[in-house]
């Protein structure tokens, strides 16, 4: 039986719990897990003050309850499986380098900032700055995959340098702002100013989007890599249809305020 933590008391203020990841809790019994330190606002507290702990750690960690005030779940995770039933708070999977996080619910802002590897799947919506760079840092996500079935808000993939962010619903403004490289796919609508300040990388959308004046139209073509990527995210459960896979795409180059090596691909005729 895997380790299962069920929320019994909702925190009054945000609870910072970076210990809630399969690596940190590996090999611990329920008692030891319950004694792990967390920060409740500016007060030290323990996991047991908020969670009922059952089972024994075996590489899979199950969390249950409305954890929308619990921050840093799965932060620094390197391996294992983390399943959450319910919503999660900010900084889910911050700096994770491996393993698999699946959330059946919504996620707060800053999903997997500075992620280096592994995979995060959110079946609901996510907040701002998915895969972004924390304030002051020049580089966001460095690798791995973030799959979001619902919608995301602003600055998705802010300063990302590698990896994949796939969004089944819509994205807010500044999708891929300042991105250095990597790929963002948005199956729904994108907000304003997509790709602002991007250096390299690809932003893909299936709907028309308003281009910044610092982007230029290059051509219409059928990029081979995109078919592979779309098949891959379809297998992850996102609603990719055959028109997406077989369609031609308008290629826009930008952002000329930077090195102009980035691209935005919009499904032609959509």
């Amino acid at each position: 039986m895997s380790l299962k933590l069920t929320l019994h008391t909702s925190p009054d203020v945000p609870l910072e719990a970076p210990c809630l990841n399969p690596d940190t809790l590996a090999g611990m019994t329920a008692d030891i897990v319950a004694a792990q330190k967390v920060m409740h606002g500016n007060q030290a507290a323990s996991v047991g003050d908020f969670f009922k702990v059952a089972g024994k750690a075996n590489g899979t960690l199950e969390l249950e309850g409305d954890l929308s005030r619990v921050k840093y779940i799965g932060a620094g995770m390197q391996s294992g499986i983390l399943n959450v039933t319910g919503n999660v708070g900010q900084h889910l999977g911050a700096g994770m380098s491996g393993g698999d996080i699946r959330v059946d619910g919504d996620a707060g802002d800053w999903v997997a900032p500075e992620m280096r590897g592994g995979r995060v799947t959110i079946t609901g919506n996510a907040g701002h700055l998915v895969g972004g760079a924390p304030r002051g840092s020049a580089i966001g996500m460095l690798g791995g995959e973030i799959i979001i079935h619902g919608n995301v808000r602003n600055e998705t993939g802010h300063a990302m340098r590698n990896g994949l962010i796939a969004v089944g619903g819509t994205s807010g403004d500044f999708t891929g702002v300042n991105m250095l490289a990597g790929t963002i796919i948005v199956l729904g609508d994108m907000g304003n100013r997509s790709g602002a300040g991007m250096q390299r990388g690809s932003i893909v959308s299936m709907n028309p989007a308003e281009m910044l004046p610092t982007f230029t139209h290059a051509c219409v073509y059928r990029p081979e890599f995109l078919r592979l990527l779309l098949l891959h995210i379809r297998s992850a459960g996102l609603p990719v249809n055959d028109d997406h896979i077989e369609g031609a795409y308008d290629r826009w180059c930008g952002d000329v305020v930077e090195v102009n090596r980035g691209e935005i691909l919009l499904l032609n005729g959509a």
Binding site: P134, G136, A138
Partner: protein
């Protein structure tokens, strides 16, 4: 905690009183060191430990507008290095530019109890005083930047030397400063007025004022010696960081003649070679001049590998450095007074220039003949954080460790220096001089840097260890003004240190001369400019010595 303490069985290093490692008892009563044991004294057994006066940092950047700008510029530094509170102390954030509270507490965890902020624009004095008040445990003061002040330069240009002197004294009083600071004297105005201009030669006359850096340096050295400030002008020479700048540094020291002058972070001013090309080490030329001229004091400004933050009033220098990294940076103009530049930086072992800087600093230390005048600093945070002092001390005290560290650096750069041939190892007493007794003497702090009767009871007690880095990293006890701050490595108390400043006498008629200039050129009213006494909080006026 009792106000009386008795520290017994410790090995005392008090070079100012000629005590070198003797087992002695130290008595403390009412915040001062006393001769006889007070009756109700609480004892601390310091067997196997080394007792030194609290450290005195003569040159660092820890408070004021530019420091705050550097904090705001680098949130990533703070996120990675939180500074948790304790039941006695407040929390903060670290990195190369820690928050005010963390700065005070971190200094005290190294056994430092006094630190001098080395560059504050007059208009930033109020902000600096408020931040210093929030920098706990340590006593502190600051040097006021006057070397690029347009009003003062106009007086010099017109030959009004007495009014110049009065105005300097007025400025020191109005800002509650400790002494004057010159940064790239005469260089910031051409920089602000013309595209990328700077002065390159100490005798180059400015087209606006007709003054050369030498004219300004000479006027300040004479004036400050006449006024008898507790510390001579603190000079950041022209051409910092440029190859061949050692000639400028030598000329600056010669300009002082036999008058007292302090050369700041002299390592950055000890480069040979041709401007624009790779530098060589001119440490020998520089240190020989310092060794043979007892009127000159300096702090080394050692470079330590790792992250640093370049933070300077030398705006053209910051502009130059920003080109190497292409990261975020700040350049600012400070009204009629100064410039400012901030560049996050990192010194790396494999880089030729960085290794050369590291080696030149060590050469200066190891070839110094008078530890009382060649003092320890990293120009925090420019050459590295003050948190790297313990490692620097180990580099000076432990040749084997030095040899190990030399293996990690750029060998081509190391070949250009004499560091491999220097066998000297500092003794504990010499370390006590360059970190405590020496700075206190150069700053005329008569109650600091020693453990004689009447001295402030600022005391650090280290476990005697073979690994000097570990030893200086974690004093077992730190006592500030007679109060236990750290006991058995744990904080047991807090303390608000006092401001150290000077109040040279001046003729108040000078205000009538300064005021019209303010009304014409400043963004604030003259009446609002001088800092009122309520900003002093707890303070001590340090009397100077007239040497002219």
């Amino acid at each position: 905690m009792s106000s009386s303490l008795r520290i017994v069985n410790g090995k005392v290093h008090d070079p100012a009183n000629g005590i070198d490692g003797e087992i002695r008892d130290i008595y403390i009563s009412d915040g001062r060191i006393v001769d006889a044991s007070p009756e109700d004294a609480v004892s601390i057994d310091a067997s196997g430990m080394v007792i030194m006066p609290g450290g005195v940092d003569i040159h660092c950047h820890i408070a004021g507008p530019k420091v705050n700008l550097a904090r705001k510029l680098q949130p990533e530094d703070h996120r990675r290095d939180p500074h948790p509170g304790t039941p006695y102390t407040r929390s903060g954030s670290g990195g190369t530019v820690p928050s005010t509270f963390a700065t005070g507490y971190r200094y005290s965890t190294l056994g430092y109890t006094t630190a001098m902020e080395a560059a504050v624009t007059p208009i930033g004095a109020r902000h600096t005083l408020e931040e210093l008040h929030d920098t706990p445990v340590i006593d502190k003061g600051f040097y006021v930047l006057l070397g690029n002040n347009i009003f003062l330069q106009n007086l010099l240009k017109e030959g009004r030397r007495d009014e110049f002197k009065q105005a300097v004294a007025w400025w020191v009083n109005s800002t509650k400063a400790f002494t004057t600071k010159l940064v790239n004297p005469g260089g910031d105005e051409p920089w602000k007025g013309k595209k990328n201009a700077n002065v390159e030669d100490i005798d180059e006359k400015s087209t606006e004022t007709g003054l050369s850096p030498r004219d300004i340096i000479q006027a300040f050295v004479e004036t400050v010696n006449e006024l008898g400030l507790p510390h001579p002008p603190h000079i950041h020479c022209n051409n910092l960081g440029h190859s061949g700048n050692y000639k400028t540094t030598l000329e600056t020291m010669k300009t002082a003649g036999d008058l007292r002058a302090h050369i700041a972070h002299i390592q950055f001013h000890s480069y040979g070679g041709e401007r624009g090309k790779n530098p060589t080490s001119a440490a020998r030329e520089i240190i020989e001049y310092v060794n043979s001229h007892p009127n000159i004091s300096c702090d080394v400004g050692q470079v330590m590998f790792g992250k640093s933050t370049i933070m300077t009033a030398d705006a053209p220098l910051a502009y130059l450095l920003r080109g190497f990294k292409k990261g975020k940076w700040v350049n600012a103009d400070t009204e009629c007074e100064s410039g400012c530049g901030i560049v996050p930086f990192s010194y790396q072992e494999h880089v030729f220039m960085h290794t050369l800087q590291w080696a030149i600093g060590l050469e200066l230390f190891l070839m110094s003949e008078d530890p009382w005048r060649v003092l320890l600093s990293t120009d925090h945070p420019n050459g590295g954080s003050f948190m790297s002092y313990p490692k620097l001390i180990r580099l000076l005290m432990d040749r084997e460790f030095r040899i190990e560290e030399m293996k990690k650096v750029n060998q081509k750069a190391l070949d250009k220096t004499s560091l491999r041939d220097l066998k000297r190892e500092y003794t504990l007493n010499e370390i006590a001089i360059i970190t405590r007794a020496g700075p206190a003497r150069v700053l005329s702090l008569r109650n600091k840097g020693h453990l004689g009767a009447g001295a402030d009871a600022d005391i650090t007690i280290y476990d005697e260890q073979e690994d000097k880095e570990a030893m200086f990293n974690a004093p077992r006890y730190v006592i500030k003004s007679g109060k236990s701050i750290i006991h058995n490595h744990e904080f047991v108390g807090d303390h608000i240190g006092k401001l150290l400043h000077s109040t040279p006498a001046f003729d108040t008629d000078i205000e009538q001369i300064v005021q019209p200039f303010f009304e014409d050129y400043y963004s604030i009213e003259f009446a609002n400019y001088a800092v009122s006494d309520q900003y002093l909080h707890d303070h001590e006026v340090i009397a100077g010595i007239k040497t002219l």
